[in-house]
Every structure is written in structure tokens, then in C-alpha cells.
Symmetry: C2
Subunit: 235 residues, 2 copies
């Protein structure tokens, strides 16, 4: 099966720095835990990618059409196609007391905010620290080990995945929806009623529908509040 | 037409302190402006009251069933049925510098926060101020001049008013809804999609329906996102 631009796929990946082998990102919970990347509350699961949309690094996105489903593939991305080359000018020596004044006790490799910019602590000397304002992955060649788990084929699968992408904390299967020619009607599960940003997520889903299914002109969200009948009264 | 507990009515009122004639609350914009009570952003319009629900002071609520529609009626409410008697123990003299330390320059009659409680500045002396922690209307006899503008008769009128009560900033007529035996379906206008607290307002409306119309067991809210069709494709 050939993949092409516009295809909906679910991918798992492990992203490493080539030189050191250090894992800096992954969709796989077990790997995240093993590599001490795991964050409580984060959702580890195959990531929806619509090929060509730029939802992953461009170099990775472009290589997806050459991959096969279920077959682990490595993609090597040089710095200039990843986070850029390291700029030696972006390294500065600053007095330790400037950090102390902000309540920061620097450790090697620590990420700190300095004058509104993020920096990495590179060395700590007598009264001075070396701060590196380059992005942490600047100058690094990255290796993505990617497995395309699935290609989504039906409009139902695709819509379901688009909804899940905007509201990841609620189980995908809890969203029931119908597709009728030009209209999609989505029945929202109660768990999603009071999520922060839920209204903006709905708008995002509606815009996604327009983008990927131009025939759909109406997206309806339905929230149903059911109550226990208090007494049986004849209607 | 006799009014009774459970009736839905719309009332206008002007509330005064009996002794001074000072207006402290009203539903009428013109009066609010004349009395310098007017607040930008506040909505001045007849207030929905379901008689007996305690949505107004109890003494006022109880007198509503004796009133006639469209006939201005005065209700006098003694302090014990309004904001309570004044407690002379709740008055304290405090050093002016305590207020200065918090950046407060007191004026007579000003409301300030002091140690987490609201107080009224009563007198300002040499280095001291007298703070009154009684509610501003404690000890006052209140006079409500009430006009019942309308009694709501149909379930449609009542539901519409209940929706408006929870979402007052959007015009009442913009909410379209249908009532079908046990279910109410409310089509939300776009202006209401992103209001702060809109999801909690919906829950409130659903609970109101259950309370006042026990036969209704389902309340559906529908939000429709319409998009301009991007291209005419045959379905």
C-alpha cells in the first residue's frame, strides 16, 4: 500500500540524538519510562499525522510516503533540517550572583530563564556560569525510529481521530457521531463538558472538518444533560 | 388574575432605604443612571422571579402573591427581615497607618477591605479611623417599589426566561429551542459559544428544567459551526 500526501496515519516513534543515543521524545509509554522522559498526565499513544500537514518535522513528514505500514523505519535528520546549527555567538558568561538574585541555584545542564530567554547551563566556574541560549537540540542530528501503525481509511475513522487529537484526555470511543452528506453531528460525552478550552477545541474540530472534508459545511456538537425523572406524571 | 407560588413573573423594582430615600438597587436603567447606581456592563431589565424560590428577599417574595400585574406596589421590609439589625460590637477604631501601609487613603463612607473583611469608614480622626463591619444595609428598613410586568404562561416563555437568566448577555430571542414531551433541545447562538462559564450555565439551565418541569428528562444543547463551502463538489 503506497502512502501519499493527505493520508491519515497513526505513528509511533522514538526520537534520539544521533551522537549520544539520548531519547528526547517518544509516543511510547514504556520507552518514556525507561528513558526517564515520562510525564504524569501526558498521553502516550500513536500520534495522528495527516501527511504533508507539517504536524511533525518537515523532513520526517516528507519521508513518511516512502514508508511501509507496520515496518520500523529510521529517519536521520541533519541539524539544518531539525533545530538548526548551533550558533557559538549565543553562549554567554554571566555572574553567578545574577542567578542567585533570582533564586536560581544552577546545575550543569539545567534549563533556566534568563532575561526572558531560555538557556542551558553549560559550565559553572568561580563566580560565573556559561549560559547557552541555543535551542537544546541545535546542532544535533536526530534519528526518528518510526512505525506507521495504521492508515485510516474511512471518513468515520478520520473524523474520530481528528476529534481525539483536539480532545485527547477523553477516550476516543466515547464520542459518537453521525455523518450525513454535508453535516457531521457529534454527541459529546459528559466527561468533555467541563474541560478547560473545550469550546475552542470544538471550533478547532469544526475547522479541521472544513479543511479535510470540504463537502462538510455543518458541524454540530450536541451536549445532552439527562436527569432522573423525579416523579412519574402522565404527559 | 391571582398569583401563586411557582408562578413565573417578570418584575421591575426600585429599592430604597426608608429613612433616607437612597436608592440602592433597581432593575430600571433610567433610575440607575439618575441615582448614580448605573454600572457599565450591568443588564437592566425586568427580573425573572419564580414565586417562592427565594430569588428575592424572603419578605418581598412572600408579598408577591398579593400583588396585581402592572400595578406599582410598595413593600416595606424591616431590618430583621432584610439585612439584620446593626451590631454595635462590629465597629472598631484602627490606626490610620494600618490603612496607609496597605495603600488605602480612607474617605468617609468608603468601603474597604480590612483583615479580609469588608468595612465602611465611619469617621476619620487624629491618626485613627472608625471602621464599621456591619453590612451596609444592616439596621435599615427597606422599601421596594415593585411592578409585576408580566406573568409568563406558556412553557416556551418560561424556558426562554430560564435560559436568559443563566446567559443574560446574549439576547433572549437568539436562543431557539424545541420542546418535545420529555426533551428540550436548545440551539445555542454563536455569541454564546465562548462566554466564560458557558458550560456551567448550560448545566444550570438543565437543572432548572428538571426543577420546574419534572416531566423533562433530557436537555440537549446544540452548537452548530457552519462553514462556507470551499468548492462545489458533487456529493
Amino acid at each position: 500500500m503506497t502512502l501519499r500526501k493527505g493520508d491519515f496515519i497513526l505513528i509511533d516513534y522514538v526520537a534520539r540524538v544521533k551522537e549520544t543515543g539520548e531519547v528526547f521524545d517518544t509516543t511510547i509509554e514504556e520507552t518514556a519510562k525507561k528513558e526517564r522522559l515520562y510525564k504524569e498526565g501526558e498521553i502516550y499513544e500513536p500520534k495522528l499525522v495527516v501527511i504533508g500537514e507539517g504536524w511533525v518535522l518537515k523532513a520526517l513528514d516528507e519521508s513518511l510516503t516512502t514508508m511501509e505500514i507496520d515496518k520500523k523505519t529510521s529517519v536521520e535528520i541533519p541539524p539544518e533540517k531539525a533545530f538548526g546549527e548551533r550558533d557559538p555567538e549565543k553562549v554567554r558568561r554571566v555572574p553567578l550572583r545574577h542567578l542567585a538574585a533570582k533564586g536560581i541555584t544552577p546545575n550543569l545542564g539545567m534549563r533556566i530563564e534568563y532575561n526572558g530567554k531560555m538557556a542551558t547551563v553549560r559550565t559553572i566556574g568561580a563566580g560565573r556560569v556559561l549560559l547557552d541560549f541555543n535551542p537544546p537540540l541545535a546542532g544535533k542530528t536526530l534519528v526518528y525510529e518510526v512505525t506507521i501503525q495504521k492508515k485510516l481509511k474511512t471518513i468515520k475513522e478520520k473524523i474520530s481521530a481528528l476529534i481525539h487529537r483536539r480532545i485527547p484526555v477523553v477516550e476516543e470511543s466515547k464520542f459518537k457521531f453521525t455523518v450525513r452528506e454535508k453535516a457531521v453531528t457529534i454527541e459529546m460525552p459528559e466527561e468533555a463538558f467541563y474541560l478547560e478550552g473545550i469550546q475552542v477545541a470544538k471550533r478547532g474540530i469544526a475547522l479541521d472538518m472544513q479543511r479535510f472534508f470540504p463537502k462538510i459545511t455543518t458541524v454540530k456538537f450536541v451536549e445532552t444533560f439527562k436527569t432522573e425523572p423525579k416523579k412519574e406524571t402522565k404527559t
